[in-house]
Amino acid sequence: MACSPEAAAMTDGPASYVELAVATNYSFLHGASSPGEMVKTAVALGLSGIGIADRNTVAGVVRAHVAVRDLREAEALPEGFRLVVGARLCFADGTGDIIAYPATRFGWGRLTRLLTLGNRRARKGECILHLPDLLDHAGDLLLIALPGADAGVLARLREAAPGRVWLGAAMHRTGRDARLLARARALAEKAGVPLIALNDALYATPEQRPLQDVLTAIRLHRTVGEAGRALLAHAERHLKPPREMARLFAACPEALAETGRLAGRIDFTLDQLRYEYPHEPVPYGWEPQGWLEHLVMEAARDRYGAVLPDKARRLIDKELTLIARQNYACYFLTVHDIVRFARSQGIFCQGRGSAANSIVCFLLGVTSVDPMLHDLLFSRFMSSERKEPPDIDVDFEHERREEVMQYIYRRYGRDRAGIAATVIHYRPRSAVREVGKALGLSEDVTARLAGTVWGSYKTKHEGERAREGGLDPDNPQIARLNHFVERIVNFPRHLSQHVGGFVLTEGRLDETVPIHNAAMADRTFIEWDKDDIDALGIMKVDVLALGMLTCIRKSFDLMRLHGLGEHTLELDLAADDPAVYKMLGRGDSIGVFQVESRAQMNMLPRLRPVEFYDLVVQVAIVRPGPIEGDMVHPYLRRREGTEKPDFPTPAPPHPPDELRAVLGKTYGVPIFQEQAMNLAITAAGFSDEEANGLRRAMATFRNVGTIDNFRGKMVGGMVARGYDRTFAERCFRQIEGFGSYGFPESHAQSFARLVYVSAWIKCHHPAVFTCALLNSQPMGFYAPAQLVRDAREHGVEVRAVEANHSDWYSTLEHRRDGGLALRLGLHRIGGFREDWAERMSAARAAGGGFTDMEDMARRATLPARALRLLADADACRSFGLDRRAALWEARRMPEGELPLFAAMQARELGEEPEVALRPMTLGEHVATDYQMTRLSLKEHPMAILRPLFAAENVTPCADLRNRKGGERIRVAGVVLVRQRPGKGNAIFITLEDEGGIANIVLWARQFERFRREVMAARVMLVEGLVQRSREGVVHVMASRIVDRSQVMGALSGGPMPPPPTHAARHPRDVRLLPPSRDFH
């Protein structure tokens, strides 16, 4: 066989090519490579440039922009490499795809408005465009009609965008390429537009074709095997080097040259989206910086007196100078404006995160931590080296945040304010499920692999997981699944709205970025996420929702109503009320902000906080960062004084106590993010910017390479300075943990304030606190049953839901002895409606209490369903009816009729034969209470079952604290929580009985033996050894577990025959008790 090399030789020579049709994985399920991958490959292949154009979106262009910037900074970007950004417009009216690149900033605005138009007229996630829309928005857009366009479309495009239209041609190895090219050439000539070469790349390298096929199958909801010709015939849609493109287009070299010409006409880059802040907050006649300084100085004088302390003046000057230099004044003023509005409406709010490092934020009322009192690291918030604007996050009451958001829309207009997007990525579970489906695996197999209980895909080796699910990891099908899942994880899947990240612009927002409809009515969001906005330097404010703020506000409202004084969030913290710390030191913290979880509760008695700063540490220490960095025990020992604080010293000539300044407050143990960063700066010679880069590398990118660089740098730096290597390694490990899970001290400071305030209310006004907590649900860690129980243990009288006394929300009632009692509200009754409750309250206010059920039904115009629910909740006692009698009465009113008629008819039903109903037992009452209101005030179910368990020698939970360590005991109770935290060596179970709770620890190896019992039991009996820690925390180390759920049957009315296998049961009957909180 002989081959002639002449064809190859013919096309030799320098070629220049810009691939202008590149789809990334932001063309959801159409592209198989990330924007960064595309950019890097294009550079590596020697392309002169690349044009990113995803399907009706510009969501991925910022990532490409950042990739180019990173390469440039690493000096790995060839001279003259161009990134141009645009979108591939896909039309709903049958017009073929057209790629649009804005040539100027104006053109970018036209493109984003065009996309916004398409997005806004479609449902979430879709974009409906018609050709005339493009013709209306064609200003400064360069348009490439993709192969297949007809003469009519070309003519219309040329009319709308003269001199800015190209016809694309591709050599896709279809077997007809030469014919198609000749035809396109003729068409282009006739239409008077140049022909331009494309490869319409869908992935970076040919090896990605299988991945592309899998994505296509997922998109079409078919399996790869069935998708047939919906998949592409070959692997040619990858980026190709200029030489290869030149060879393909040997017959038409001018089409190749045209790519450079088009790219050369583009002036626009994303850097031009320089942000301008809204001007609204600046009064007429003022400059923003001047107005900001005016506000800050006024506030400073109010706070610190006419003569500012030196430190305050220094801090203020430093920050204001930096703000002026970076031109951020408007940004601070805008945040101030939002916070001021919330305050004016009585909505509680408080800044969180690193903003609390700033005295300007403090003086503007954005944050509540006074940097004068605490040395905080300002550069964590803002520094001259950082290119992105600072990040200010503000928490608002969760029930009233919407008011703040609506204010922002009102004040800045919907065309200038928008919510940032959150890119929803494929998570391992969704990836396994969808890839599995595309590969034709059954749902059962994928469900098993997705491992839906306890443990995420990543923490375990895939093989192990497969084996656990009873599948062979070497099975080719499973191996193939893993192969694709690994590649698809972290692919963007769709866009969604961010929880509260607002973006505000001075000009029209839709000329900066396209806007989408959100799933929620009246909500819109932009298509860039936080990282994109940061990267472009666009300002955002996080308007977040915090349940505890609602709870505190409601507490203060209740206190005002009941004459308990006026309070604000600025409760006198300096007072450091010992009663509050004593309560916390006992671990008595149910309902208290942040420190109510079991881990926090266990830590409290060990840490024994006595002052505010202890709370700051408490908030920050029970986090994966400090725990994984093994910082908790050294801290506790040193604080107790059983171990001397130790400050490792560097070798001379470095100052020997340089670490004391960084770690002094925490006995030499790094606990906060700032300390870790400071450590890198002080002990390893990092610059501010590098330290920040280190934090960011951990938090956002999780890029193994980058982290390793930092590790080498930091450990090396510390060792070079003379520190012990193990100490250096430990510090680094901790920073790793911090990346996503650590708290900055400023944040802990902000949160610790809420810890104190909520603990203070709980300590001094437990009835108020519980009432406010119940009325702010859902929030916090505990179910209402535990909150009510905790309140009663603190001496609060809790009164049952009652038709004649309850409002919708829970309320406080005055007791004869002058104290307050908590009256549960009608909101506790599952399925009851707020408007029924309002009508009841109104009727009672107008005409006094209801005399009987008929009276109530008539005056409050309640439907039969409402009456039945009230009766079933045992809320009719004031009519002299217990639950059973009330239900018998209520059911007499026919359902589904107008309440008025029903009531009249009921009276006309007249006398009927007496029916003797069996009295309801206490057990039945309790079981029904749980079903209707998820709690019972009558008795704890375990109290009724106590004789049964006492006969089996079961110790009440309350007795545990009197038992000696090592004693073998049995406890039983309702399962509240099952948890398998961290590495999963132990399973934690919390049981509750009528007197208290028991903390059970089960080692993982035992777990396999008792798996069924652990996972299924609602009532559990545990046998094991008592273990006491030095701080007096008692655990039971379980050796045997028995599922005793069936005893619940004994509650609800005597022995019942086992239920038939096939009978469907109502979930309410199954769930005699509310489900436990399991953390999978």
């Binding site: 066989m1 002989a2 081959c3 002639s4 090399p5 064809a7 190859a8 190895r173 077997g175 007809r176 030469a178 014919r179 090896e207 074709r209 299988p210 096929d213 095997g225 069935e226 047939g228 010709r229 919906a230 015939a233 070959h234 692997a235 040619e236 590969l439 749902e443 059962d444 469900a447 839906t452 209980v453 080719p476 193939r480 192969h483 694709f484 079933d872 239900l887 018998w888 007499r892 009927e912 034969p913 029916v915 109903l917 029904t928 798996r1011 069924r1012 996972m1015 299924a1016 009315g1053 019942m1056 025959p1057 239920p1059 038939p1060 296998t1061 096939h1062 009978a1063 469907a1064 109502h1066 009957d1069 199954v1070």
Partner: protein, 511 residues
């Protein structure tokens, strides 16, 4: 002593508590020795619909999400719930019951109710009947719980919940709306008997008249008629002759009349026949059978008659009427629903389809269904997978081939060489077109060519296909040699990217 009159209603209920899992065992879907559950997606999650005995013993109940079940029993096997298969098995049990009494009704998903009125004595009494039935059901591989009562509903409740008297059953045994059952429980009633003891007025006012009626039926004071189960009666028509007929013409006339009657019956049912059987009963007792089958359900008398004629014509032994036939009957053993089609405006097109159907039926009658094949397109880029021979019936995975571009020659030849034949080719690297090739001891000089059409292998068919070993791509060229012959050649493997020395093949010849 109360003597039950023989005409007293007596009902037998069967409850098959493990029907679904036993079905899975019978169909060998279930792995022996491992607990299993039948699952279905409900409310967004895979949930257990039924479990086997072992899984039930481990505490797994229907309704539980599969994930939770696996958390408790990690080696639980999960099989797809197949209600149709369960129903088919239930129907077998129903038919079995039909051996004892004609009045049998299925009580899906897992029960049967029989009216034994006056039947029991035929089988040696109720107990003997029950024992026999239980044994026979057991032989099917199905466990049944049986109960007898005056009414079907009482028997049903007893079969499900056990016991002798419905009054002693828990209120869960009341087959009534869940909400009402719960309300009865709330009112303190534990057993059916306690509810029955109440005056009906207050009950009706609170729980609806439906409850009162149900209680009456359970107590045997009222009964619902059973809608017996039975296979639908096949369409059957016959003609008896006073004088045996023997002339072919007369026989055909008779058949024509029968076909017409059968067609009327089918039309009433909204069905068409897929098979028609004619029996010709000769006066000496010999019976000749004619059977025809059609590709689509039909009740067009002309068509059926034509097919029957074809059948008669093609018989190896021609019909021998002997002394004549005294009875001719026609049955339609297989029927299917016919969708009434409104004639569209595109009448000729419809006609074409029907003509094809009719032709296929005639060919089938003459030559047998297995001899008729047609070419169908399949959805694949790979040429040898893009078409297959389909037998008559409902072909699967058929689709159209891509038509050639307007005014262009076809992309692919009509016939492919199987397997492709290797040829020696001279071509430019890396992927230049072929210049000349040797095939069958001749050198063919190529004067025109078009291509390549690149077709990559179907990586998913190969074990390592996803991981960089998908196999070799092909570059197809349409070529014309100097003498005007046209070939379809392909290079096997991309030069350098896949192989250093690609081979060439001829895969087909263009007409």
């Amino acid at each position: 002593m109360v003597v039950r009159p023989s005409s007293a209603p007596l009902h037998l209920a069967l409850f098959l508590p493990w029907l679904a899992s036993e079905r899975a065992v019978l169909t060998r879907e279930a792995e022996p020795g491992r607990p299993f559950a039948l699952i279905e997606k409900q409310r967004g999650a895979l949930r257990l619909v039924a479990v086997d005995r072992e899984a039930a013993r481990l505490g797994l109940d229907p309704g539980l999400p599969l994930a939770d079940a696996r958390a408790r029993v990690p080696d639980l096997a999960a099989l797809p719930h197949a209600p149709e298969a369960d129903r088919a098995l239930l129907d077998r049990v129903v038919r079995l019951c039909g051996r004892f009494t004609p009045l049998v009704a299925a009580d899906p998903p897992a029960g049967v109710i029989c009216d034994l009125g006056g039947c029991a004595h035929l089988f040696g009494g109720e107990e003997a009947l029950c024992a026999a039935l239980r044994r026979q059901v057991r032989a099917l591989g199905v466990t049944a719980r049986l109960a007898l009562a005056r009414t079907g509903e009482a028997a049903r409740a007893l079969a499900r919940f056990g016991g002798e008297d419905v009054r002693g059953l828990p209120i869960a045994a009341l087959d009534i709306d869940e909400e009402i059952r719960r309300a009865l429980g709330r009112a303190g009633f534990l057993t059916v008997g306690e509810v029955m003891a109440q005056p009906s007025g207050p009950l009706a006012a609170r729980f609806g008249i439906g409850l009162v009626r149900l209680l009456e039926r359970l107590a045997g004071e009222a009964d619902l008629p059973l809608v017996p189960h039975g296979p639908p009666v096949p369409v059957r028509v016959e003609m008896r002759f006073a004088e045996p007929v023997g002339r072919t013409g007369d026989v055909l006339d008779a058949i024509e009349a029968l076909v017409g009657q059968a067609a009327d019956q089918l039309a009433e049912r909204g069905e068409g026949g897929r098979a028609f059987a004619v029996r010709l009963h000769r006066s000496d007792g010999h019976v000749a059978r004619l059977l025809i089958e059609t590709g689509v359900p039909t009740r067009d008398p002309a068509l059926v008659l034509r097919l029957l004629r074809e059948r008669i014509d093609s018989l190896a032994d021609p019909l021998d009427p002997g002394f004549g036939y005294d009875t001719i009957d026609l049955t339609v053993p297989r029927t299917e629903r016919i969708e009434e089609r409104q004639p569209g405006l595109a009448e000729p097109e419809r006609q074409a389809g029907q003509d094809m159907d009719a032709l296929l039926d005639r060919l089938t009658v003459r030559h047998g269904a297995e001899t008729i094949r047609h070419l169908a397109g399949a959805d694949s880029h790979v040429p040898e997978r893009a078409g297959f021979l389909s037998s008559q019936g409902a072909p699967q995975g058929e689709c159209d081939w891509t038509p050639p571009g307007e005014g262009e020659p076809p992309l692919r030849p009509l016939l492919l060489l199987d397997p492709p034949q290797q040829v020696e080719v001279m071509a430019a690297v890396p992927d230049g077109p072929p210049r000349l090739f040797r095939w069958r001891d001749r050198t063919w000089r190529i004067v025109r060519q078009e291509g390549p059409e690149r077709i990559a292998p179907e990586w998913w068919r190969r074990r390592e296909g996803h991981a960089g070993k998908p196999g070799l791509s092909r570059d197809y060229y349409r070529v014309e040699e100097a003498g005007g012959h046209r070939f379809w050649l392909f290079r096997h493997g991309l030069y350098e990217r896949e192989t250093s020395d690609p081979c060439w093949y001829v895969h087909g010849l263009f007409a």
